[in-house]
Amino acid sequence: MSYFSYLLDASKWGGAGGTGQLLLQHLAYTGAAVLIGAVVAIPLGILIGHTGRGGFLVIGLSNAARAIPSIGLLVLVVLATSTGFGPTVLVLAVLALPAILTATAAGVSGADPDAVYAARALGMTGGQIVSKVEWPLAVPLTISGLRSATLQVVATATVAAFAAGGGLGQLLISGQRSRDYSQMFAGAVLIAGLAILLDLLIGVIGVLASRRVRPAGKTRTSAAAAPA
């Protein structure tokens, strides 16, 4: 039996419960979870980074939440509410949150102090400093946070299958229970491939964003050309 037989079997890709549908489900879980994570974590991260308050508590708590086993949390949430897209995405968003939050807060609070002082000296308000100086400087770091969050979520979205939510994890479970190892292999390969693909994609976006924030050579020379 070839390990690739399931993956390359065109008849397994179509229809309800087919590989194609599972792949789309997996992407939908990942996209929605990272989006919700970003919508919550980015404003919170900016607030913490800008004010310098609450960082210990909020970031500590969200990082502690990483230690919660995802399968356990998922089954708990599902039994307390119901199965379906919403509860599953919620659990995955909990996983996406800490990476984005920590990165955003670190990016904002780590924005070049000289630039922040200059902005303040120019008479910018707090809001202007955030939107025109700190946040643009924090974008590359925030994107790297999104990148690691996506990587975690795309790998962990396999647990959706434990709550009858489909996704590529279904291939692992079904394959294991019916001893169809080519099916398990197909699931593993697709999840790994998806993770690499998404990671590269966001990596490229990150490089482009950091070029926009720091055009090549400009910040360095201006700093060097300012003797005391």
Partner: protein
């Protein structure tokens, strides 16, 4: 103006160590066993060891058998759970155990892969011949069975007048079936429902967790679920098991599998036959629940049940 930053990562690791205690502590042999005069003269004092497979129900049944034998004056004990069928059949053959609780359908398929028996009677008739080469014999077949079953909620059953798989085709286009993922490959799965009962389902949804499956069935996200007859979720939620008039699902009635010499001992049959007659699927379900849910010991559960039936 320095912005103070305090970014700290708090790592929390919770390690939970679960120690699963070995269930099924051996019941002590009755010291009076050998003193009561055995009418046949054979095997009265020869200790009988009852083995069990590695799941709750088998361990309870092993305790029930051993204690019933002890109550009839034989020397009997149990062993810690042995494992899968492949292993405990070997244990019977090499005489390290003499009796093991079994299930008719799966036992027949194990010893005769080409068996065609489908009904309870056919299975009971086919088993003795199939077991003869191994010098094994079965005892009385109980009405109690632990087999796959399709269930619907009480409301769904009443609304659609559905109590049997024979009526399924009328409503099946609206039914999403939930079951373990391997059911999709089983002969009695969706393909069997279609081939034997002409019922084409709307969808089959694989479930890894029985608890999640029960939750979805109650929430109406699936309309039909596949369970084992001795799962307490069926009775606890008032699910209606659907009859299987075409015997699509192989019956799995409880039966003691014994070495030939032990099965020929009339004392043994006298002890086990009443147990097999008294056992029902509902009572077996209740016994499983006492061990799995209420965390009682299999030997206590077995002894209480035997007393309640006047068998010990």
């Amino acid at each position: 103006m320095t912005i103070k930053r305090s970014l700290a990562a708090l790592g929390l690791t919770i390690t939970t160590l679960v120690l699963a205690a070995c269930g099924g502590g051996g019941s002590t042999a009755d010291p009076l066993g050998s003193s009561s005069a055995p009418p046949s003269g054979s095997a009265g004092g020869t200790p009988i060891v009852v083995g069990a497979a590695n799941f709750t129900e088998s361990q309870i049944l092993a305790e029930v058998y051993a204690q019933a034998l002890t109550a009839k004056g034989l020397t009997a004990s149990t062993k810690p759970p042995i494992g899968s069928r492949e292993v405990y059949i070997k244990a019977l053959q090499d005489n390290s155990v003499q009796i093991v609780p079994e299930y008719t359908g799966n036992l027949l398929l194990f010893v005769d892969k080409s068996a065609t028996a489908t009904t309870q009677e056919e299975l009971a008739n086919a088993l003795p011949t199939a077991l003869q080469p191994d010098n094994l014999k079965i005892g009385k077949v109980s009405a109690a069975a632990d087999q796959d079953v399709y269930v619907v909620t009480k409301e769904f059953s009443q609304q659609n007048n559905l109590t049997s798989l024979a009526d399924l085709s009328k409503v099946s286009s609206n039914i999403v079936l939930g079951g373990p993922s391997e059911l999709a490959q089983r002969a009695y799965g969706p393909q069997g429902l279609k081939g034997i009962y002409g019922a084409t389902l709307k969808q089959f949804k694989p479930y890894d967790s029985p608890a999640v499956k029960t939750k979805d069935l109650l929430d109406g996200k699936i309309q039909m679920g596949e369970y084992f007859t001795t799962e307490s979720a069926i009775a606890d939620n008032g699910f209606v098991p659907l009859a299987d008039p075409q015997s699509m699902i192989l019956p799995q009635n409880i039966v003691p599998l014994m070495r030939g010499d032990v099965a020929d001992n009339p004392q043994v049959t006298a002890a086990l036959d009443p147990v097999q007659a008294a056992l029902t699927t509902e009572e077996l379900t209740a016994l499983n629940k006492q061990v799995d849910v209420d965390k009682m010991d299999p030997d206590q559960v077995a002894s209480a049940w035997l007393k309640s039936k006047g068998l010990a």
